[in-house]
Symmetry: D3
Subunit: 325 residues, 6 copies
């Protein structure tokens, strides 16, 4: 594949290497540093003039620094005359800030989209945006890889007969759609969260549907502090014994696992966490897990998507057939 180049910022070098390995390509050389005044600085170290460049960067903590470094890398490639720049962003910065649901807040993911455009991207690839509408914040072509495809492939290797899919709130219920499509035999349940007074946090109020004696598979697009899972687990424990699930297992796309998330998850008593390697999970975190922790690699599907885009084949059909877009 002549003229194809892959670059990566410093946010998730392991994933970038896996993708290059899948494509049997060397890594684009770039020097990315932070100056003593805290300013990131980037130097591309090979000619990219006229090339079709894919730039990999994920925006896990330190998210702002990762995001800015990524933008500078893109900008350097743009002014170094790359022909086309595709941002490959497994976890998009500020993806949760996708609507104006309180007065005087910013829709930050729109700003992020505009900043990426300003930096010089021509297109972007994501894995599971917090809302699919975020694609519309960009005014250039984007593709979203659906994490459900990877997770369901993994789950289908086991007997799912006793499983029930649980949405941790109504907002998440909508996102279960691809799971429903891929595993149509599984029943569904949802936790109903309510806010009792205007200034209070919403709390789990009721279970809609049934999980009694079943394996509750809680699905959430991102696990940050682990609070949502803990809350669900606590609620289940307060149910009459026969209405409680026999086990709680969790599947997520983005294992942010910030702060004391591992402790919180351990306290929740979950049996398993299935996640996609969209952000780096340090070995130390994996080791403290008191549950099965499966980290699925998206490198294959990303590599294939890059190849398809580079050769002007159909991304939509590939994602549809193979992994459910």
């Amino acid at each position: 594949m002549p003229n194809l180049k892959i670059f990566s910022d410093l946010s998730h070098p392991e994933l970038a290497k896996e993708i290059c390995a899948e494509l049997q390509m060397p890594f684009g050389r770039a020097n990315i540093q932070i100056f003593s005044n805290g300013n990131p600085i980037v130097e591309i170290q090979e000619c990219v003039r006229g090339c079709d460049v894919f730039v990999i960067g994920t925006q896990a903590p330190p998210a702002s620094e990762n995001f800015i470094s990524f933008c500078i890398l893109i900008n350097a490639l743009r002014y170094a005359s790359a022909r086309r720049i595709t941002a490959v962003i497994p976890y998009l910065f500020e993806s949760r800030s996708d609507k104006k649901d309180r007065p005087r807040i910013a829709i930050v993911s729109r700003l992020v989209a505009q900043m990426l455009e300003t930096s010089g991207i021509n297109r972007a690839i994501f894995i599971d945006l917090h809302a699919p509408q975020i694609q519309g914040f960009f005014r250039l072509p984007t593709d979203t890889i659906n994490g459900a495809g990877l997770i369901c492939k993994f789950l289908k290797q086991r007997d799912l007969n006793n499983y029930v899919i649980v949405a941790p709130d109504a907002g998440e219920a909508k996102k279960l759609h691809p799971f429903q499509e891929l595993m149509p035999q599984l029943p569904l349940a949802m936790l109903d969260k309510r806010r009792y007074a205007h200034d209070e946090k919403p709390i789990v109020h009721k279970l809609i549907g049934e999980v009694g004696g079943k394996i509750a598979l809680i699905i959430d697009d991102e696990i940050s502090s682990g609070g949502t899972i803990k809350e669900a687990a606590d609620f289940f424990q307060r149910l009459p014994i026969n209405e409680q699930p026999s086990e709680i297992r969790v599947a997520t796309t983005h294992p942010i696992l910030s702060g004391s998330a591992m402790t919180t998850l351990n306290q929740s008593g979950i049996k398993e966490l299935i996640a996609i390697n969209t952000v780096p999970v340090p070995e130390t975190k994996k080791q403290v897990a008191q549950f099965e922790f499966h980290l699925l690699s998206p490198a294959g599907i990303i590599a294939k998507t890059i190849e398809i885009i580079h050769t002007d084949s159909s991304v939509g059909e590939f994602l549809d057939k193979e992994y459910l877009k």
Copy 2:
């Protein structure tokens, strides 16, 4: 309020008049016609130079013609040197096309947002967008009035003890949030739709939660053909008798009621339809209804929002307190 002017296209003159009446203001004079070659043409008939103009237009069928006329009206105001133009759009064109969930479709509401920007608006006011993220498709300030406020005010005049809120599918479940906030005592149920084969339409598969013997209040943001309601009603009829609701009532923001929607609703056996007057419902449609049909006027809240924007007060606080944004 000097320098404030209200204009309207031809899409919903009755609502426009109500809003002007609330504001105790005359209507801006404009001549809007369709030429013999099918081209809309607009002439503003009074000076708007330096004015703060609000333009009312809703995009019910004939939706394209209404939308284009609205854009031309805005463009004429822009070049006639209006100082600020706020589009007031009770029902936004192509609001349902808000994500790219199949290959090679357009996110048409992003295009609509860009066309409105191109026409010359400075800001926009909506009532219940199909997804709140659509605000992010605009790169200028917008405000969304939450129809739930109006509907709940109306509902709360009655005894709701036996009511249960029903989401017709998981996508709609998320939008019930404001109803849950405003009527926290009401239980929730959801219809689970599944697609049995890749090329088939999703159909109602199961009820999650319980409605037996209760009044099922189905809430949907828009009723076009009435098919969703009919499907739900049919599903309820197939349930064991004790699991069936005692009555079905429906609340919606946008009563599009296109084609044979009234017949379909009559066949569904619903007892009541509560809707907001965001699009014109012809008298003939109201008369054939074999159910209570309540059309709530948004003129008061729109008029107040206009006044607040014009006088640089806080829209967010007003919508929050009075009507739940």
Copy 3:
């Protein structure tokens, strides 16, 4: 011609088919529908990634719906990653609204140009814009095919000795230039229209030049209601008998023929109407004509222009030599 694709909206399928036949190419597959809420929706059904796409659409009535559908089709192609999109627009929406000759009107064809840019076109091809300056409303390359070439080719097959070209008003006189260039032997006459009071419509006041005993060939770029032709014919009838033309024949580029235009033309007593197939003329209209009705196909010249653009040859030279640009 690899990577070349032709798509069409629903506005003039017959012409689109003829163009594809000329190019010996299949038609691009796309599904274009109107939803029950009046919203057009488009799905491209084949991969266009990296392709050089030409999209055919003409904006005859229902003009707004045709225009919006065309924009959505373009937008879907843009986000489906077409490399270049050329709009092929035989009859441009709002082409007559090309200047601000009254206070507070919009120059709507500028807005149309901006909306097409916003939708995602890279270039455009037209046939006979109402004014050649409209090209300047676009900020991207455009080409205009001059209908006079086709019409003169057709006319030159007959003896033109007794013909005189008649401009129906001074505005049209300027547009006769290509006819004068192509048929330099034909004399010219012009109807002088005046407005007697500020609020009145201008009416034909005088003939400048001579048509007595000759065949008056009235040339107008567009015939909508037929009113202009009827007015000219009526004026000729009021002239002294020896100053009247022996026959009236009419040539036009765009046969909109809206409403009762066919009746009006029949009443005008014209002997012939020569028009270009830029907008669909239903068979029923052709059948009621009490005059010779010649509909010339622009498919050949459009197909050749597409081929030239696709292969980076010179459009200007082709149009200049073969058909007079």
Copy 4:
């Protein structure tokens, strides 16, 4: 009128002074120079922060230098934080390059429009653009003062009974419209120009209409070299004596009168030249005229238009009523 400021470049200081005198305002102080390397440089010498600034500049020769200086002046005002900048351009640079009528030429007045936008104008005022569509090349509000109003006011002071309006070619015929509206009793004639071979210049071929024994009032929007007038005069002289006009008089908006134009006009034997002072006519040129030379000042109407815009009144109505827009 607080916050109103008038600036001018060096292109037509006399007109700028007249306008300020009409408005009873001092002149904005600015230093405009050409450096030794040929680069214009501008320094605004008074505070304009928050002001409503009108900048006067006409683009007669040296046209490029005048245009660039004008743009720099505007840019300096923009970055000096003027609140609104209105360009007042009696004669617009490159106004004749308004369409692409030969392959591979630029529509230069579109580029001029874009450069003025880039420089920082918010709106513009012109006198008689070469084509009214040029307004559409700007994507901001513009107003055009119609020179016909001034000229007709002047002409109506005399007995016009024996006058006939003559268009020097079909292109100009269209522009006679306002003269026809203002002096509806005057007959019309037109010179028919043809090109006998593809590479030749078009020459006057025939007179359409009658001027025999009458005063031919040739109207052209701009007189540069005087060639068009000379050609018309020569053609008249070749007519049979009884078909010749008794006198030739000329009215124009823009008296460019470049090179040996005065000699050419003298040789044409015209009796009178009526022009508007949109570009400076040096005293030396006026003195060699062998005909009556009337230079009408547009200062009054420009001053009034500025006042109306500044006070947010209706420009359209003013121009319509008083001077015919």
Copy 5:
């Protein structure tokens, strides 16, 4: 001053408070937090609709996070309908990356300028940009406060007879211009840095001018690691004793003082460091200084500049007269 509001991000609260105190204004209420996934999130807590808002943020380490938070704050204000937003940036992010002096690097301060524009600023105020040309990277009005004014005011309180200004390299020499203007009696010297081989770092090679026995006042716009000062001091020590300065004193605008900068400065043996409080200097750093450390507050001049801009007075004249722009 009605409608004036001051907001600040979390980067330098002490300075923001001082500025508000100078203006006798309360602080705008905003909640700025970092989510558990590392994403900053902002909520404006008072109405800013129609207000003239100044937002204070400096981009010292953690520079990326400070910059992104600042952009989000601006974006929230923009969509909360502030009328005008002026960014007040004492130390601009990436100001040192101002040219492309090696292949394939980005001019990052241009990207920063574009990102600020994208976020929604209308204008910006800086203190001492690394190069004055950086103002040109913005396409909106900016003002730069010259730190030399503050520093010279402070220096002039002492006897400067024995002082010589020293530029640490040729690049800095150019920036001494304002010091030369304000203290014209002081002689000048410059260190000449050379690079002996292509891959080596440039090192101090020679002193141009004389400092023997005098107080060398080294002036640098920013002190980050302190390396430049140490190098100069070391070079001086290697000079013959009579060519060495009697003392080294240092003046700078931006006391970044990152990492072990204080140690490095202590080792350089400088007698004094004069700096402006453009970035927060923690108390701990001040305490370890083995030299006089004077931190001059820019709050007064910033407050005055804000007031002037808000009231549409002349910033240029104020800065020129009082503090030398």
Copy 6:
């Protein structure tokens, strides 16, 4: 090199021819004229559709006319569908106006950058911008050829032992950097200019460094009126005889030599002027020189840069290695 085309405006035909000769390519045909009304007009006379076009133009006097003609040429190429347009600008218009160092002036080179973008360039190549930051005023890729490379190559053919490089002021000192890199053995001196009162011009006040008995090689990026050189020469003459240089030689990139510059240089008593042929120097000027006048051709390096860009090789590496970027 298929699809490569070179065009030139009329500003420096000799250089354009040399570049084409180096590339062994014919010249692109274009007709560039000035109309009688002072308006430049351009017609491209060969097909450029899909081509990679380089357009050569330098902006020496008449600078405005040259600049505008250049922009129109670019715009004609853009709308003639060139695939990529690279402006090759040996001497950039308004390059000296690069910062806002007085109130209410424009940064004109930013405006120039924006006008070039507006005209339609995709990239640009310069020789020695007045400040390297000017690249940042463009929002597209640019490359700058460093004139020092050519000059040093030429100088190194002689014995430089007795030479000292002299910066005529502190501003120029910074630009000596490449000369220092290329000729590291040469000592450096600088003239210190001061302004004694606020309204006075800065004058040479002192020499920093030593030139006594040596050959002073004054380096300045541009010589316009010759005033700076004369001032330096006069200052040297006022020095004690043993501190005076033995000879003055001058090297410059841009020999503007406007007005009486040759006389001024002759009066300065310089022995040599080395310049690059970035702007045309008429034969008459060369003949009056009372000093050696060497005009170095940049055609070779420009031709090579064009070839490298056209073939997607690395410009940075080429300029770095061969000529020092």
